[in-house]
């Protein structure tokens, strides 16, 4: 009874091994077949393909999977001809063989789920394979082909093929083991491969009752073993715990004067580090595992879309954590598909553009500063910011004003916005507008980032940065309202000290308020600010530093979701490698935390989920933009042609005046300005112009006068007024102004122009201040429309 269980278990194990091994072989097959197309007639490749199919056929025969055996048998016969040079590889042959690989995959899938082959039809493809075999040449009987191939392969028999029970078991065990060893080596070694399999007459041979594990262990165990993934995960967790325990012990031991303890600690430290590193490495796998599927994708898609594409891969041996590998599989595949669909042009277009007809798709992976950088580059038509930008505007993703302020590189990143699709027509490959934002979300979910470079006409490169591992991440510990939080460094761009002072208001220097939202001016760009204490609704605990001063805070400049923002915390404490711990459901639901970790002193610290924070806190900014956009649309303003004159006042105030209303810019000599009653006038070109000093009109402090005062003359219907300012600064396009709704007397709003908060002058009010009668001579509405239309 126990023996039966053992046998059942063994058989199951054999099937399992067979499945794993076959899947690996199929990936190799895909690669080989595609490579074969590039170099038809490569005996080495053909031999490798033949061996793989032969192994699958042999084992499936032994395990009584007849459908699998039938189809691989037919395929093998065809391959034998190809290998022996009797047939030449054609596109049709490759197609047929690839379809065979697909069918084998389906059958293996059936076996995996139900332990049977299911009722998948294999006759059709088998017949086609046979037909091709027959069409190619006067075909010898399949049996003869097989016999020939077995003779060819039998050069180095591994085990004697006696049809006795124990011997069969050994043969199978060795077959599996050898195949595993071959797969692990993954080099097409010409050495012993397909061993003799069970004779075709005994495909239903019962599982051996005397298993012979010894040969299997000795063969495989020499170079590698298979380990259950769950066991590895457990080891990684334990190593993590050990690291934490070590941190605590080291901290305590440092306070004790005990040489033996110190030495033991030193040793513990070393061993723990080594162990951690070693265990992490067991989970590392080459990115080739994901890439191996891509040649097939490229080939199929290329022929489907009529593109010729050469795939170049570099750095396939770059390793990363297997969970991450799994996570980048879909994004990478999507990028590759996208490059063929949208990037690489049809051959005719390429020829017309003076490029080689064959497009190049380049995959590159490398370790770079503790991260893995994966690039997907093509030499296709590239992405044109001039097309992307207006498209984003038309889809309501950004305002026209914001677009004008963006650099071409920034505009490119818009392709990651949700709801963006660059394809003029929707194809079944990509272009439903759910592509790149999903790619970005998936990459950011694993703590990575993605960016795009493109030169129109020259090609596009997508660059993914992925952490090496997820279990242990470098983080910054920060203090906020008396609590410590961990901030993953992957999102961190830089830290800015907000400077110390006893005065809490001065401590806020550099922080400006735009429409109720705080912003910080960082090297000429405005950074929206998020206060961690507000994001987490923490009680406002004023942190004091050692000198009893109000902690001014530190700005952590972060980038997530394609947006850059500043997170204000009280203090940065440390940087350390933290072990990420899962949170219970109820804490996860809050959405502010990505996990928890245990700090060196044993305390639990929450890990901030930067992505969620930015979504939660900066949503307001978006709505704000949108309402502004709607407002300007409602006013019928296109805002694209208009320009603004930016003038300055003594106390750094900046005011913008629509250039439409500026007739001339002048320097008025001070001696030409005179008082007439309560008003000032200026002698100008033989006339007397009413003059208003905008500094007085707006309640700004004026600069000490020089010999002349700069000003603006506005003329309409023979009447003119002069608006005196302190300084004429610049003329900018109105669409580069990012509107905000801060208003004050004499202003129609404010905007961000060239990174400065600039007020928009209510021109009508200013003119009326100079000449209350001015508009009486105009048709009503003539001026007002043009003034309010500016923004």
């Amino acid at each position: 009874m126990a023996n039966d269980d053992l046998d059942a278990g063994l058989e199951d194990e054999i099937v399992q091994e067979f499945l794993i091994e076959s899947y690996e072989n199929l990936d190799q097959l895909d690669r080989d077949l595609v490579a074969l197309e590039q170099s038809p007639g490569s005996r080495e490749l053909l031999a490798s393909i033949f061996r793989t199919i032969h192994t699958i056929k042999g084992t499936s025969g032994f395990l009584a999977y007849h459908r699998l055996e039938t189809v691989t048998h037919a395929g093998e016969s065809l391959l034998a001809k190809l290998r022996d040079g009797q047939f030449v590889m054609t596109l049709d042959t490759t197609d047929l063989l690839l379809r065979m690989v697909d069918l084998v995959r389906v059958l293996l899938g059936n076996i995996e789920t139900s332990r049977t082959e299911g009722d998948t039809d294999v006759e059709g493809l088998t017949a086609q394979l046979r037909a091709m075999l027959a069409a190619g040449q006067s075909v010898p009987a399949p049996a003869a082909v097989e016999a020939a191939s077995e003779i060819a392969e039998a050069a180095t028999p591994v085990a004697p093929a006696e049809p006795a029970g124990p011997a069969v078991a050994t043969a199978v065990a060795t077959a599996v083991a050898t195949a595993v060893a071959t797969a692990v080596e993954s080099t097409p070694a010409p050495a012993p491969t397909a061993p003799p399999t069970a004779p075709p007459t005994a495909p239903a041979a019962p599982p051996a009752d005397k298993p012979a594990p010894a040969p299997m262990a000795s063969t495989v165990g020499e170079s590698s073993i298979r380990v259950d993934v769950e066991l590895l995960e457990q080891l990684v967790r334990s190593a993590g715990e050990l690291v934490l325990a070590r941190n605590q012990i080291l901290q305590r031991a440092a306070a004790v004067d005990d040489e033996i303890l110190a030495r033991a600690c030193h040793r513990l430290n070393q061993v723990a580090s080594e162990l951690q590193e070693g265990v992490m490495r067991t989970r590392m796998q080459p990115i080739d595992q994901v890439w191996s599927k891509l040649p097939r994708v490229v080939r199929d898609l290329g022929s489907q879309l009529g593109r010729s594409v050469r795939l170049e891969m570099e750095g396939g041996d770059t390793e990363l954590d297997r969970t991450l590998l799994e996570a980048v599989k879909d994004p990478l595949t999507h990028l590759v598909r996208n490059a063929i669909d949208h990037g690489i042009e049809p051959p005719a277009d390429r020829r017309a553009a003076g490029k080689s007809e064959v497009g190049i798709l380049r995959l590159r992976a490398a370790h770079e500063g503790g991260q893995v950088v994966v690039e997907v580059g093509d030499d296709g038509k590239g992405i044109d910011p001039a097309i992307i930008g207006p498209k984003a505007v038309s889809k309501g993703l950004i305002t026209e004003a914001r677009l004008a302020a963006m650099t071409p590189a920034d505009i490119l990143q818009l392709v990651f916005e949700a709801g963006f699709s660059t394809a003029a027509t929707v194809t079944n490959v990509s272009g439903r507008g759910v592509g790149m934002d999903v790619v970005r979300t998936n990459i950011e979910r694993i703590g990575g980032s993605i960016e795009v470079d493109s030169v129109p006409g020259r090609g596009t490169t997508w660059r993914l940065r992925i952490p090496l591992t997820l279990a242990i991440v470098p983080a910054l510990t920060v203090l906020c309202s008396g609590e410590r939080y961990a901030l993953p460094q992957v999102n961190l761009l830089e830290l800015v000290n907000l400077g110390g002072s006893k005065d809490a208001t001065v401590a806020r220097a550099g922080i400006e308020d735009v429409g109720g939202a705080e912003v910080y001016r960082l090297r000429g760009s405005l950074l929206p600010l998020v206060r961690l204490s507000e994001a987490l609704s923490l009680d406002a605990v004023v942190s004091l530093n050692e000198d009893g001063e109000v902690e001014p805070g530190v700005l952590a400049v972060l980038e997530a979701d394609g947006r850059r923002f500043g997170l204000v915390v009280d203090r940065v404490l440390d940087t350390e490698e933290i072990v990420v711990k899962p949170l219970s459901g109820i804490v996860k639901e809050i959405g502010s935390f990505a996990g928890a970790t245990i700090l060196g002193d044993g305390a639990v610290s929450l890990i901030l989920d930067v992505q969620s924070l930015v979504r939660k806190m900066l949503r307001g900014v978006d709505t704000h933009d949108r309402s502004q956009l709607e407002q300007s649309v409602a006013e019928g303003s296109t805002a694209s042609e208009e320009q603004l004159l930016v003038v300055g006042f003594g106390d750094e105030r900046r005011v913008a005046i629509p250039l439409d209303v500026v007739t001339r810019l002048e320097e008025f000599p001070v001696e030409n300005i005179e008082r007439v009653g309560r008003r000032e006038v200026v002698r100008y070109r033989g006339a007397i112009l009413p003059l208003v000093r905008l500094s007085e009109h707006l309640g700004a402090s004026a600069r000490v006068d020089g010999a002349t005062i700069p000003g603006v003359v506005y003329s309409a219907r023979g009447r003119s007024v002069a608006l005196a300012v302190d300084e004429i600064i610049d003329i900018v396009g109105a669409d580069s102004a990012i509107p905000s709704d801060v208003e004050d007397f004499g202003l129609v709003g404010s905007a961000l122009i060239k990174d400065r908060v600039t007020e928009l002058l209510d021109v009508r009010a200013a003119i009326l201040a100079a000449d209350p009668m001015f508009f009486n001579h105009l048709e009503s509405g003539e001026l007002t429309g043009e003034l309010t239309g500016a923004i």
Binding site: L244, L583, S584, I586, V587, S592, A596, A603, V604, L606
Partner: protein, 149 residues
């Protein structure tokens, strides 16, 4: 016979089935969780595992513990998750005969009634047996109760 791990919450003597209890710990430093439901007292470090601590007084809508009162952690398992229940002090593990079991007494009202399986009549007082799964299910039971209130 049923084995119960007992503990005290103010005047109430409560219990959970011993099969739920993993261990009992003295007061542990807790890291508070901004934005979490009020009953979540914080996170504790249980030998490297991060465990959510639930303040049973808050959960059962009892008056909060006085400022300097310290709590004990009753670490319980519920499915895959491990939680700590904060209680005032720990009682004995006792065996009670099934015959003494009663459904929740009518005198009991509010949240407490909702979260107990029933009571055992002991000498001079009642032992309230908590329904661990419902106690830990902050989302459904908590919101339902507050909606009713």
């Amino acid at each position: 016979m049923v084995q119960l791990a007992t503990f005290f919450l103010g005047d109430h003597q409560c219990a959970v089935g011993v099969e739920h209890v993993q261990e009992v710990l003295l007061d542990q430093p807790r890291t508070r969780v901004p934005g979490a439901p009020e009953a979540v007292a914080g996170l504790i470090n249980l030998r490297g595992q991060v465990v959510t601590a639930l303040d049973l007084r808050v959960r059962l809508k009892l008056s909060p513990l006085s400022e300097n009162g310290s709590s004990m952690n009753v670490v319980v398992r519920n499915g895959d998750e491990v939680w700590s229940l904060l209680v005032d002090r720990i009682g004995d593990v006792i065996e009670v005969p099934d015959s003494q079991f009663e459904p929740p007494p009518d005198t009991l009202t509010g949240r407490l009634r909702e979260l107990i399986i029933g009571a055992y009549k002991l000498d001079g007082h009642l032992l309230l047996v908590l329904d661990v799964a419902r106690v830990l299910d902050l989302a459904s039971v908590g919101s339902a109760a507050s909606a009713a209130a």
